[in-house]
């Protein structure tokens, strides 16, 4: 088993909380992981990505090779396209469709969506709207993780264990909200894949 995932977003959007939950899920399933993050200058509102590698065998490189990613998981639509050179031809692109506009020359969102729809295997999800629907605005990242979960070779209950471990300290309410977000995201992908 091997799943190589590019996590994408903008500095400050919190892709590292997705990575942490995913890492916990992988560990709960006795898998090896390597996860390369971006710290420092780019965290100030710049484009950020994280390479998350999960495998049942020893992992050598911290970086995913271009053309080797099984999944791009992006919390921002334009950012999902920035890493296309990494996506394997059979890989999935799972992206939030809510743009994060902190630059003057952000492209027309329709043009961005057109490019996303050109990818054969894609899930475009309004994670912010879904998070709001289930009454947990701040959980849109976990909606995204749920949306990506069908494409990651880890049993779903392990994702739930990961969520409990990451959010357990913040109390049962927060855990419940994030579990609901996880399930809502997963449901969307299962219906729309």
């Amino acid at each position: 088993m091997k799943t190589d995932i590019i996590l994408a977003g903008v500095g400050g959007q919190g892709i590292l909380s997705i990575a942490a939950s995913l890492g916990m899920a992988a560990l709960a399933n006795d898998l090896q992981i390597k996860q390369a993050e971006v710290h420092g200058m780019s965290q100030r509102g710049g484009a950020v990505q994280s390479h998350m590698r999960i495998s049942d065998k020893e992992i050598a490189s911290d970086l995913i090779a271009k053309g080797g990613a099984d999944l791009i998981l992006s919390v921002e639509p334009m950012e999902s396209l920035r890493y296309l050179p990494y996506l394997h031809e059979t890989g999935w692109l799972v992206t939030n469709i809510t743009p994060f506009v902190n630059i003057n020359n952000y492209p027309e969102i329709d043009a961005v969506m057109t490019e996303i729809k050109k990818i054969r295997n894609h899930i475009a999800i309004n994670a912010d709207a879904i998070a709001e629907e289930i009454g947990s605005k701040r959980s849109s990242n976990i909606v995204m993780l749920g949306a990506a979960s069908p494409f990651i070779d880890i049993p779903f209950e392990k994702f739930e264990i990961g969520i409990r471990q990451i959010f357990g300290r913040k109390g049962e309410e927060v855990v419940k909200a994030n579990l609901a977000a996880l399930r809502a995201g997963r449901e969307f992908s299962q219906k729309n894949r």
């Binding site: 903008v10 500095g11 890492g23 560990l27 090896q32 992981i33 390597k34 996860q35 390369a36 993050e37 971006v38 710290h39 420092g40 200058m41 780019s42 965290q43 100030r44 509102g45 710049g46 484009a47 390479h51 020893e58 992992i59 050598a60 490189s61 911290d62 970086l63 995913i64 090779a65 271009k66 053309g67 080797g68 990613a69 334009m78 950012e79 396209l81 920035r82 296309l84 050179p85 990494y86 996506l87 394997h88 031809e89 890989g91 902190n102 630059i103 020359n105 952000y106 492209p107 043009a111 961005v112 490019e115 990818i119």
Partner: protein, 539 residues
């Protein structure tokens, strides 16, 4: 100690390894990608219980020297910095090769090839080679942990500081680590030789000979520790020497990580000469993969180019930048398949100062105040405010090294560019700006120094600033006239007032210090800092 694997950043693996090996003191100045080493110590309950000294130093030189003092007193210690921080600490580091150590001493140098968050991509192994000091270069998190743990023992065995050299990818990548038993801290114990740390020429000459005599012994010990490994294979048409992380990118390209050619993995220096000779004599050509500068490649290839050596110097690999699996695949003659190109609709999204950042208001005022004098006279420094180089500000004309804003402004003023302006942050000012300010005061140079004070070391994530609550006193103590030290709060509503103050000081024919002061928006949740700010009456 628990047997469960810990999920750690490479930086954290080094910290945990040193902590478990009986460390007594950790010293550092923040710098990407090294910052998380000290942060791990500061957040650690274990470090708290063990009473490990772990506060940020004013700069890398003071950190290195303090560590050397702790080593003198017989205890185990570690100092961490980014690659360019080693430039600052170099005086102490290079001379520590001649003093040697008493308690074990590790110097962590975190390099940043491809300059993700740095102004150059210098390779710290050069410093170690130049100083004749040993280096460990881990390829993964377990090696990072082990090398810190065993490096302290190695340091005491050879009586020398040990460098652990990592690069960004390992520093900021997470993986599982298994721990070794917790060792007790050393007792306080003076050096056996009372003049060991007295580098008078007569003593230094003797100790330098000792340092030279240790080189072969360290090389031999390196072969025994198992970090430098020779993997034999049947196809001798080429042999590969892979240093540090380059080894991972090599094996990543082969099924089950089995390379069909002989491979020499190098993770410890001095360079294992006998293994290099072995692979060179057995293979038709050598490919040398190094994450960083072509140091081994140059050594092996030599000016006479006797060996058939390929690598960064002949274009087999790019001369600059970080390696990755695709670049190494191409170097090995393997196909490198990429996915779809980035669509043209994707625009670049560079880092920017945060919404509500005080630096923004300070720059807006400075730009207006300087409008009458014309462009090209603002010397800046290393920090978030360096982002003022980008539009819409286009506010600065230099960023070179820590503290250079003040001294470059003085030099430009000496040349006749008056007024010359310096922009520097609070932490950078106490790191390396103070001495330059003294030069300017002594010459009564017509410069205006803007110390943009946000109570923190911002760019690296909001670490403590040694300057907190001390800036006016430091400036006055260095001789800046109190009436030309001007403090104000950089907010939109005070824009006109700020412009007026800056204009007044630009017109003054001597050293002025203006201090826009407002807390970094990233640190608003830091209760500890909030308390200190209140205590010092800073707002």
């Amino acid at each position: 100690m628990s047997n469960q694997k810990l999920l750690l950043l490479g930086d954290e693996a080094i910290a945990q390894g040193a902590m478990d090996a009986g460390l007594s003191g950790m010293y550092a100045y923040p710098g990407t990608p090294s910052t998380e080493i000290m942060e791990y110590f500061q957040a650690s309950k274990q470090a708290e219980e063990l009473k490990i000294q772990r506060t940020w130093s004013a700069n890398e030189k003071t950190a290195m020297e303090t560590a050397l003092g702790m080593s003198y007193a017989g205890k185990r210690t570690m100092v961490a910095m980014k690659h360019v921080g080693l430039n600052v600490a170099a005086d102490a580091y290079v001379n520590s090769a001649i003093t040697g150590v008493n308690g074990g001493l590790i110097v962590v140098a975190a390099d940043d090839p491809s300059m993700h968050s740095s102004q150059n991509e210098q390779d710290s192994r050069f410093y170690a080679k130049f100083s004749l000091l040993p280096v460990f270069e881990p390829i993964n998190h377990q090696e990072a942990y082990d090398m810190a743990y065993k490096g302290l023992e190695f340091s005491e065995k050879f009586g020398l500081p040990v460098m652990i050299r990592i690069t960004t990818r390992l520093a900021h990548s997470r993986a599982g680590v298994t721990r070794l038993p917790q060792l007790p801290q050393n007792e306080l114990k003076l050096p056996k030789n009372p003049t060991q740390f007295v580098l008078l020429p007569s003593i230094a000459r003797v100790q330098y000979k000792e340092l030279l005599s240790k080189q072969d012994l360290m090389e031999k010990a390196g072969e025994e520790m198992g970090y430098n490994t020779y993997f034999d294979a049947a196809d001798k048409s080429k042999g590969i020497i892979a240093c540090g992380l380059a080894y991972n990118y090599l094996v990543e390209n082969y099924p089950d990580q089995k390379v069909p050619f002989p491979v020499l993995k190098v993770s410890q220096y001095p360079v294992p000469k006998s293994l290099v000779k072995k692979i060179a004599s057995e293979c038709n050509e050598l490919i040398i993969l190094e994450e960083g500068a072509p140091i081994l490649e140059e050594l092996i290839k030599g000016y006479l180019e006797k060996e058939n050596v390929k690598g960064r110097l002949d274009g087999t690999l790019p001369r600059d930048g970080e390696l990755n699996p695709n670049l190494v695949a191409l170097a090995m003659g393997l196909p490198s398949v990429e996915g779809k190109p980035v669509p043209s609709v994707v625009t670049s999204r560079p880092p920017a100062m945060c919404q509500g950042c005080g630096h923004i208001d300070a720059y807006n005022a400075l730009n207006v105040a300087l409008a009458d004098y014309g462009k090209g006279r603002v010397f800046s420094d290393i920090g978030c405010y360096t982002l003022g180089a980008y539009p819409p500000f286009n506010a600065i004309n230099s960023c070179v090294d820590m503290g250079a804003s003040i001294t470059m402004a003085k030099g430009a003023a000496d040349a006749g560019l008056v007024p010359a302006v310096s922009v520097i942050g609070d932490s950078t000012f106490t790191h390396s700006g103070m001495t330059g300010l003294l030069d300017a005061v002594n010459d009564k140079s017509p410069i205006t120094v803007m110390i943009s004070d946000n109570f923190t070391t911002g760019m690296t994530g909001g670490q403590d600033s040694a300057a907190l609550g001390k800036i006016e006193d430091i400036c006055a103590g260095l001789g800046v006239e109190p009436e030309h030290i001007r403090v104000f709060t950089p907010v939109k509503s005070k824009h006109d007032e700020m412009v007026q103050i800056i204009k007044e000081e630009l017109a003054y024919n001597g050293v002025s210090v203006i201090i826009p002061r407002r807390q970094c928006v990233q640190t608003m949740k830091n209760k500890n800092l909030a308390e200190k700010i209140k205590e010092l009456g800073l707002r």
